[in-house]
């Protein structure tokens, strides 16, 4: 399978560490992961909120680039995945005026769904060097990855499983909970921190009730919002792992030095306490 990696703006900036762990895991699994050349921002919620033309033109441009390269797109960020999938959906439905001659042929894969396909999952299970036994986690999907189901293709949008399957494959103790896809507030925390923090603190509260001691996420914005409680409300914060960080740890037995250095809620004590 020829894959073009669409990192999105976050993975080049504040979520640089996420990008590192993704490359490490894909390399370990033997996937060729080439960055989509010349890609641009998906427009995120700003284009969606203010400018409908731009909200379609931007992701469609990325689909065009992938088509030209003859590759399918793999996307780690939930928002990018949502916007690209949305554009692909529209292109398949109606003729639209766009600056690029795009057909919408390139597939858009959510990274967790790609990795949790049965064969890949079995490979991960067989390659695990160091099971993360005893690490109690809940998987948090956020909204843009699973909703709306007609666009994202997540049939189990109320109780998604891709992250759960992957986290379980690392040997972690994955807890079930009811807030897997309840919004973390996205970018609202920038202008209205009281709203963003209220949403995130509720998630922490529900995760603790489920017996978890850490979150597992795949969306860089969800990670940022939950992780930054380490600065906003340190007494209540809980470590937030990217799924690929746990996979890297389980597959390699160790992570690249300094991998967890960029977390705002330090997971060091938790990991050392479990002997990882």
């Amino acid at each position: 399978m020829n894959l073009a990696f669409y990192p999105g703006c976050s993975l080049q900036g504040v979520a640089r560490d996420y990008s590192g762990s993704i490359y490490a895991v894909f390399r370990h699994l033997g996937f060729d992961l080439t960055e989509l050349a010349d890609w641009f921002c998906c427009g995120a919620s700003a284009a969606h909120s203010l400018d409908e033309d731009l909200a379609l033109a931007l992701p469609a441009g990325n689909l065009f680039l992938a088509e030209k390269a003859g590759r399918d797109i793999v996307v780690p960020c939930a928002m990018c995945f949502n916007r690209l999938s949305h554009a692909r959906h529209i292109l398949g439905q109606e003729p639209v005026h766009l600056p690029w001659p795009v057909k919408g042929q390139a597939q858009v894969h959510d990274m967790t769904r790609l990795l949790s396909q049965p064969e890949t999952l079995a490979r991960i299970q067989s390659l695990v060097k160091r099971p993360l036994k005893g690490l109690r986690v809940v998987c948090y999907y956020g909204c843009q990855m699973v909703r709306p189901p007609r666009i994202t293709g997540f049939a189990d949008y109320e109780n998604p499983q891709t992250l759960d399957l992957l986290a379980r494959a690392t040997g972690a103790d994955v807890r079930d909970w009811s807030y897997k896809a309840t919004c973390c507030g996205a970018s609202i925390g920038v202008s209205r921190p009281e709203v963003g923090n209220a949403l995130c603190l509720r998630l922490v509260d529900k995760a603790r009730q489920a017996g978890a001691e850490a979150f597992v996420v795949s969306c860089p914005l969800c990670q940022m919002n939950l992780d930054k409680l380490g600065i906003e409300a340190p007494s209540q914060a809980m470590p937030v792992f990217y799924i690929t960080e746990l996979l890297e740890l389980a597959l390699n037995g160790r992570t690249e030095p300094g991998r967890f250095r960029m977390h705002l809620t330090d997971p060091g004590a938790l990991l050392r306490g479990r002997g990882f």
């Binding site: 703006c9 900036g13 700003a46 931007l58 970018s187 209205r192 949403l199």
Partner: protein, 199 residues
């Protein structure tokens, strides 16, 4: 199904209002707002309903009633996160989040004072995108936080120390970049945007 059989996909079950809001929204969003029977499931599912002045089920009712001005001045359309809980759980397939997003796009040229900061953030984000084709978080936060009204608001709310600490931590960790990355496709994008504005 004949034209006489009502269905959730039959557009426009109510009489048109003089200002045509219902017809406009239904046409633009591609959903049947008239199908809402006020079960309030959208509002119960909404994670930010407590912060809204007009609750999601009321938004739908107000669209049916043609209350355009009140809707465009509401805080609701700006606090909505487009998480699509409402749409997903609507038993009548009303695209509530789509309706709110349409109203937000309509309200964008003149947002109410109470939501000015939220609208400004989206605008600064799009500015970044227009310059570089990508978004650089340092430039975005600098552009947003140096708007006088925003800076003043953060001073008053006592947020500055926390945000400075957050910004400094991110900088020290090497997660913010001074030099923005640019997509090579950005020229093509500009040409497209120019054409859009000239039309």
């Amino acid at each position: 199904m004949t034209a006489m059989t009502p269905s959730v996909s039959t557009p426009h079950l109510l009489d048109p209002q003089p200002n045509g809001l219902l017809a406009e929204v239904e046409q633009a969003v591609g959903t049947c707002v008239g199908a809402c029977y006020q079960c309030e499931r959208c509002t119960n599912a909404c994670p930010v309903a407590q912060f809204m002045d007009v609750k999601p089920h009321q938004v739908i009712r107000w669209v049916q009633l043609g209350r355009r001005t009140q809707l465009l001045q509401s805080f609701t359309v700006w606090v909505c996160l487009s998480c699509e809980m409402c749409t997903t759980y609507c038993p009548n397939e009303v695209h509530v989040a789509g309706v709110i997003n349409h109203l937000r796009q309509s309200a964008a040229p003149a947002p109410p004072a109470i939501a000015n900061d939220l609208a400004l953030f989206h605008r600064r984000f799009l500015d970044q995108l227009r310059y570089f084709g990508r978004v650089n978080e340092l430039w975005l936060m600098a552009a947003y936080n140096t708007i006088p009204s925003i800076l003043k608001q953060k001073q008053h709310s006592g947020r500055l120390p926390t945000e400075a600490r957050l910004g400094w931590t991110l900088w020290r960790q090497g997660r913010l970049h001074l030099i923005p990355q640019r997509s090579a496709m950005v020229r093509q994008l500009h040409r497209f945007l120019e054409k859009e504005t000239h039309q």
